[in-house]
């Protein structure tokens, strides 16, 4: 007799699936999980949204999520979909996710940004906490990250793009 799987159990396990590019943070903490549906026969559907449409980690994350959910007790089938009705933006990152990203050296976008002009200013430096920072380039090592420089502690750092 196996336990019946619940949506809560699935969400809990999604909190342990690391993002392949930023492993300290889980895909759930990054706000990539849109919906979890579980039916009475143990069939699970997970709806995800990618951070950027061209994220090369999309298929990797799909497989990682599928594997993690399938390992749960009472799961008979797993379907992982990417849905287009939701647009990801960094406000989807949980407070815990923001904290872990900061510890990893990646700042969430700052409060002073102007989305129209893409002045990604006022981003808080994850190293020293200063807001005296400037944008180097909106195009960082992955599509969802920009590069910045802190004038206070003179460290370069990255941020999630607004």
């Amino acid at each position: 007799m196996t336990a019946r799987v619940t949506a809560e159990a699935v969400r809990a396990v999604l909190d342990t699936v690391p993002d392949p590019e930023m492993p300290p943070v889980s895909v759930a903490e990054l706000g990539m999980v849109v919906d979890v549906a579980v039916d009475g026969r143990g069939s699970v559907r997970v709806d995800l949204v990618p951070t950027f449409s061209a994220c090369p980690a999309i298929p990797v994350i799909r497989e990682d999520v599928k594997r993690a959910v399938a390992a749960l007790d009472g799961v008979s089938a797993v379907q992982v979909r990417y849905v287009s009705g939701v647009v990801w933006d960094p406000s989807r990152i949980s407070p815990e996710g923001q904290r872990k990203l900061g510890a990893f050296g990646i700042a969430p976008p700052g409060p002073a940004q102007d989305p129209a002009l893409l002045q990604i200013g006022g981003v808080t430096c994850p190293t020293c906490g200063s807001r005296d920072t400037v944008t180097d380039s909106p195009f960082g090592p992955t599509p969802c990250r920009s590069t910045h420089y802190c004038r206070a502690c003179r460290n370069p750092f990255e941020a999630m793009k607004p």
Binding site: V49, P50, F52, S53, A54, C55, P56, S84, G85, V86, V87, W88, D89, P115, L117, L118, D136, S137, P138, F139, G140, P141, P143, T147, K161
Partner: protein
């Protein structure tokens, strides 16, 4: 790891001077690092590395005859040798592209000569050693063949959208590794990656309708079954043209996505959300370059020439898609391409005006009545197609 002192001199026979030091496990690596760190722009005729007491202080300058008497290991990389070892960076220079046109014509002739290559997919390369059994290839059940040139209008629209983004993204990648500077290399590669990713979004919707997969949709068609506009397939061998095209395309893409966001067909409207968010970065990038080039003298002339060339090509983005009237009536396409063209003329004129370029927009230009959207492409596309689909056609990595 040992520290090696690096000495250099401007000309053969001139006095040696110390220029710095490198850390390296052995003398060969030390020479290599010294060359890359201190002499990569031809700063001197000879360089030398040595291990031992730092020589060449002001009181005790190294002499030409005996530059490093106290070094336990010492080697000079002389003029000729120094040059010989320089890495060829000619591709970093504008003139490094000289002769590219001729090379392309030769490639085209080769492609034409091989005729069959364009007419039908290359047979899978499964040459095996006779004594080893062929590995088992797990093949999905063969899907019913799709007549790509006769899909219904919804799917045709998706193919046109996907092909524009995909082919242009492929062309943008030509700058990966050779963009004007390092940050630009990252930025433009990122934009190219985005365009290909956006192509995938449209292909995903088309594949769903056709019951096939995105690879088959994006890579499994014959050249005349692609529906992109002429602008997208042109080679990216000139930075001014690349920027002109990038600007004109992303202004057109803004009009297009703003239009499709109002579509009565939910999957199409929903797909524009993420794309519009990401397009902001492309527009920011294109407009930053527009301003930078427009503020210069030589670059400004080249930019204007490139815009004059790209503008008529960009108008072809607004060719009607097959079955357009029905799509417009059903508000799947809430604005016809003719109306979108008018909006793009306005947006383009505004952008060029803001950069002080002046009025280059000729509103009498008309998109072709039968062009890229109906599978007609220039010879340049054959080269793109060959390269882009080679891996898919080879069957390597088949899923």
């Amino acid at each position: 790891m040992a520290r090696w002192e690096v000495l250099g001199r401007r000309a053969a026979g001139a006095a040696w001077s110390t220029v710095g030091s490198v850390h390296a496990p052995d003398i060969e690596m030390a020479l290599l690092l010294a060359r890359d760190a201190f002499f990569r722009h031809g700063e001197g005729a000879d360089l030398a590395v040595g291990r031992g007491r730092l020589h060449g202080s002001a009181e005790d300058p190294p002499s030409a005859a005996d530059p490093a008497p106290d070094f336990s290991e010492f080697r000079v990389l002389g003029g000729g040798e120094l040059l010989r070892f320089w890495t060829d960076k000619s591709y970093k220079l504008q003139r490094g592209y000289a002769g590219l046109g001729a090379e392309r014509r030769r490639a085209l002739a080769r492609v034409r000569q091989a005729g069959a290559v364009i007419d039908r997919p290359r047979p899978p390369d499964r040459r095996q050693r006779r004594d080893s059994p062929a590995p088992a290839v797990r093949r999905p059940p063969a899907p019913p063949p799709i007549d790509w040139s006769d899909v219904e209008p919804h799917t045709g629209l998706l193919l046109a959208l996907g092909d524009d983004d995909h082919i242009l993204g492929h062309r943008h990648t030509a700058w990966t590794g050779v963009a004007p500077h390092l940050e630009e290399d990252l930025a433009f590669s990122s934009i190219a990656q985005d365009e290909i990713g956006h192509g995938l979004v449209w292909y995903g919707l088309a594949a769903e309708r056709l019951g096939t997969d995105v690879d088959a949709t994006g890579l499994g068609r014959q050249p005349d079954e692609y529906r992109h506009a002429l602008l997208c397939e042109q080679p990216a061998d000139d930075w001014a043209y690349t920027i002109a095209r990038h600007l004109l395309y992303d202004l057109a893409k803004q009009v297009r996505l703003d239009t499709l966001a109002e579509s009565s067909w939910a999957p199409l409207a929903e797909a524009t959300g993420a794309l519009r968010r990401e397009l902001r970065y492309h527009r920011w990038h294109a407009e930053a370059w527009l301003q930078r080039l427009a503020a210069s003298t030589v670059a400004r002339e080249r930019l204007i020439a490139a815009l004059r060339r790209a503008l008529p090509e960009a108008v072809a983005l607004f060719e009607t898609v097959p079955g357009e009237d029905a799509l417009v009536t059903a508000r799947v396409l809430p604005r016809s391409h003719r109306d979108q063209l008018a909006a793009w003329f306005d947006a383009t004129a505004d952008a060029l005006d803001a950069a002080g370029i002046g009025d280059l927009v000729d509103r009498t230009l008309e998109p072709p009545s039968a062009g890229g959207r109906r599978g007609l492409h220039g010879p340049e596309f054959m080269i793109v197609w060959e390269e882009m689909t080679a891996l898919y056609r080879s069957g390597v990595g088949e899923r």
